[in-house]
Symmetry: C2
Subunit: 345 residues, 2 copies
């Protein structure tokens, strides 16, 4: 088959690779119908040293089950399924607590003998717990929105849940990338009254407004914080959903959060240490939440409103490429020419 | 009157000071019956530069109302009252949310014209919101336990609440100082099933066991973390209550917490930055909670079990001094000869 590999920073290639095969009785093989490029795929695209060697890449996909292992029940060849970006048995104590990213038998794609999603086919470990059937046809126009359940919508939702967003909440979302926009949509779904979106790309913040943002703050740094404080009577926002992962975004979150509020992070942090002492968090009882999103936990909850057309998270895809053009997709996202790139193998 | 002042690190003196007087119609004057020395009083005792000049000190006290301003209702001279360590109107939006330490009209003792608690008398701003009447006589043997409502018991309780401790919880408490022991007591009150106390002072951890600790880990650093992990099947503890405030204690908390768990800090952090990135918190969805405790919020909730003798948090006091001997009290706590020093002016 053909599959995408990253060789080093800036060097993504589509190459021949062995067809995936069942290895464990709990595996399934999925033929990929739709995949996409994640903001987090850009981290190795920026930083991967050549010494690491090539690796498969991609972790968001939906497709058709081609084969299942002997211990997989509830799935059969021909089923249309979506995979969350972390596989999990969905039965262990962590999974039952809704933390499938810490599953005792789970793991990440593109590691330990498991390939990536930007490919023609994928071996899915723990298939019964991981894959969720999609009750639509293979040519449904809903597929792009359903693909967001693999990661980006679930991640935005995880931000909002971590931020304890509920009816009447005032929420600030930092970042107008796809995850930030999904956090806006999720906050709106959870009943937030005011959603302040911090972002400076007009086309993205316009989509953010359609998803539910009530105000947009294009300023960054201390100026952006000042603006959020003005908009919130000087107090800051009960919840700040940080969808970037860089230190300046964390610093803005600290500045924009209200005493007693929550900073909920879902942008994978590209820093190790940050201020959490007396002035930043402690004296104001600011809590820190979030982490790698257990997308699996939210699929059943988020799917119905996609199926009935209430929400269209798939609107974050503003470019589509074939598998051979995945490298162009990376370039477009890296240059911010595309918000999020859909891949049709 | 006589009152305690800190001149610089290591130099605490009891000196003549003007008697406090009503300044605002919302003030009260309280004659101090009992005060005490806080672990956090030791921070300036270790660090205060001479250039800062002398300042009053102490923020935990109970006593008898001597006078009230014209706008104070519900309190009258002769009432026996306890003060939380932060004054607050108890009516603003932050107070109503249980965050009296962020009160819009509140503040700290020993700042902005307000004196300290290690004195014969104190002017209490926002007296009606701040002071809570104690339904006992001035010679009640319950007074030391009731004094812990001013700070140390409320702070331990805040740690447990921030850690979402409930029936069946597994909790690790870092620190066998008075706050750590109160966190043990609070966790037990909230129904925790296992309480692992990390501390290496046998007399203190013995008291911790009486307060409800089910296991004691005297090891520190990576060894201590390893021990907690062994005790929790390799996973760590759902809640870690960090009652120290130093970086090594935070690092132990990160090591000892379970994926999806909470680190709840109530030791005032003596550091600015610390690890909160992928490895420490993010990949495991570990949350960070806690902060300066709104002791006022918990007084009514915690008092009944003290009054009926169910709990005796006053057992943390293992030495009593008169006001003139407060400097000896500091020395004893600094040398760990005393766990917590009671002051009877």
């Amino acid at each position: 088959m053909r599959a995408t590999f990253i060789h080093e920073a800036g060097d993504v290639r589509v190459e021949d690779a062995p067809d995936p095969e069942l290895r464990e009785p709990t595996d399934a093989i999925v033929r990929v119908l739709l995949a996409c490029v994640c903001g987090s795929d850009l981290h190795p695209y920026h930083n991967r040293p050549p010494s690491d060697g090539p690796a498969s890449i991609g972790h968001e996909f939906l497709g058709v089950v081609e084969d299942v292992g002997s211990e997989v029940s509830g799935l059969r060849p021909g089923d249309l399924v979506v995979s969350p970006f972390v596989y999990a048995d969905n039965t262990c104590d962590f999974c039952r607590a809704g933390l499938q990213v810490s599953c005792r038998h789970g793991g990440y794609y593109n590691a330990e003998g498991v390939g990536g999603g930007q490919a023609e086919a994928v071996r899915v470990p723990q298939a019964q717990g991981t894959l969720v059937r999609l009750p639509v046809a293979e040519d449904s126009p809903l597929l792009p929105s359903l693909l967001t359940l693999a990661d980006v919508y679930g991640t935005g939702y995880h931000a909002a849940k971590g931020g304890q967003v509920g009816p009447g909440s005032t929420v600030t979302v930092i970042g107008d990338g796809a995850v930030g926009l999904m956090a806006v949509l999720a906050a709106r779904r959870l009943g937030a009254e005011r959603i302040i979106l911090m972002g400076r790309h007009r086309d993205r913040t316009d989509l953010g407004r359609e998803f539910g943002a009530t105000e947009v703050v294009p300023e960054r740094g201390p100026e952006g914080v000042e603006r959020v404080r003005e908009l919130t009577g000087g107090d800051g926002s009960e919840a700040v959903l940080e969808a970037v992962g860089l230190r300046p975004a964390y610093d803005m979150a600290v500045g924009a959060v209200r005493a007693g509020g929550v900073i909920s992070r879902v942008g994978a942090p590209q820093y190790v240490e940050a201020p959490i002492g007396w002035d930043s968090l402690f004296s104001r009882n600011v809590r820190l939440a979030g982490g790698v999103a257990p997308a699996r936990a939210y699929i059943e909850e988020l799917m119905p409103a996609i199926l009935d057309g209430t929400v269209e998270p798939g609107r974050v895809f503003d470019r589509t490429v074939g598998l051979e053009d995945v490298p162009d997709g990376y370039r477009a996202m890296d240059r911010r020419e595309a918000l999020k790139v859909l891949v049709r193998p």
